[in-house]
Symmetry: D2
Subunit: 137 residues, 4 copies
């Protein structure tokens, strides 16, 4: 694993590329993580037998990225439909779709804490990603 | 295609979920698009014969998303290495890796314009995504 | 680009790892390409404006892989539903789902030609991948 | 979960689409699973902290698909390089690349058992997928 000093040095290198405030930066970082989570895992085969570990794996994967404090993922096998079983396909599995996934990501950066969420909003027919809050720690 | 009024109505629905400034919102939207672009397309087979159309397809795909004004993508077959040919694998193709892709995304939202970039920074050994500017239009 | 001799030499290296007949080998190669196509591109943002280029890009991407002679991809914006517009989401785009994609891949290997297809079979509620034929050329 | 009878009925529906022998069919199914595994997960963020659960998640995800008896995945943080630490990037994580992943998938179909493998072959500079054996059970 990296020494803390080395990570800080690289962070400072990165900072020079940015041309925005700390609050805008943390909002940007939340966006990256939600966009990444969605597009990396949509399409993954999901069955009643692997939901728990898939949720945990997406959480850990997200937490491994820069500035992420925690991530929580909830996969609903039935998506926006009514019938779990109907959704599961003939061989008792399906692929992860946008209406099946809810996620919350908490990021900390330079004294700020931001919470981003993704969930399928029925009235919009859309997997909305949004910023719930940005606060000073 | 959607009527403009319908899109505006749905945008206003979305706005209610956000708890941040317009500048933070647009920074968030830039982050989503760069995170999506990276994680959707990394791993795609790339050959000398499909680079142009793959670039164009990633651009169009990005431009189809909410608030995106334009996108520009540049795939470097050699990545961070020296030899194009070496990188291409035994069957004259390889898979798209983080050091091969450069992208610029321009977003417009509510009177603001933001430019985000992604590129592999050699001295960091890292595909850095950053905000180049946020301006009033 | 690679010299033909170099590609053949690497192919022969690969052959040593296989423990099956040529017909089984070509069936395996068809499976790889359909599995790759599906899981690389499911989740990609799709709008009425980028369908053509996305189809072409998936085709070229598939054709760049080992032993692929040709690929044909058809994306149906409405998926298995009735209404194109309904499916397109509030911002006039959606993400590529399993019921929207049809593909045919033709592979040639060692005097054999195999055709594989993928399409959503309504009565199965499933994106079926299957081998349509394996013939001597 | 599905009743066994229902799964068998849907399997028979699927069988009608195939035009090949059982041995070719099982080879095709192995190919699908390896192509899927590779293209679904390449690009996933990997850190020393999530390798175990990511391996397990890819295994379970693969096992949830049709005809898969078992799957075993091994992620090597250093890929084809020498230094784990160097590979991990400035923020102590990297993205899963083709040279980091080894997998074995066992499929059973209609009295046959097939073993497929994927691993990075240094002398080919290529993530080779191959059939290790197809046997009667």
């Amino acid at each position: 694993m990296k020494e803390k000093e080395e990570i800080i040095e690289k962070m400072e290198m990165a900072d020079k590329y940015f041309n925005c405030s700390d609050r805008e930066r943390i909002a940007f970082e939340v966006g990256i993580k939600l966009g990444a989570l969605f597009h990396q895992f949509i399409g993954t085969p999901v069955s009643p037998h692997n939901i728990d570990i898939l949720e945990k794996s997406i959480e850990n994967t997200t937490e491994s990225q820069a500035f992420v404090k925690s991530a929580e993922v909830n996969i609903k096998p039935s998506g926006s439909g009514d019938e779990d079983d109907e959704n599961m396909g003939p061989f008792d599995y399906t692929t992860l779709t946008e209406d099946m996934i809810e996620a919350e990501v908490v990021i900390e950066y330079d004294g700020l804490r931001a919470v981003g969420e993704m969930r399928y909003v029925e009235e919009m027919n859309y997997p909305l990603m949004y910023i719930k809050e940005i606060d000073e720690i």
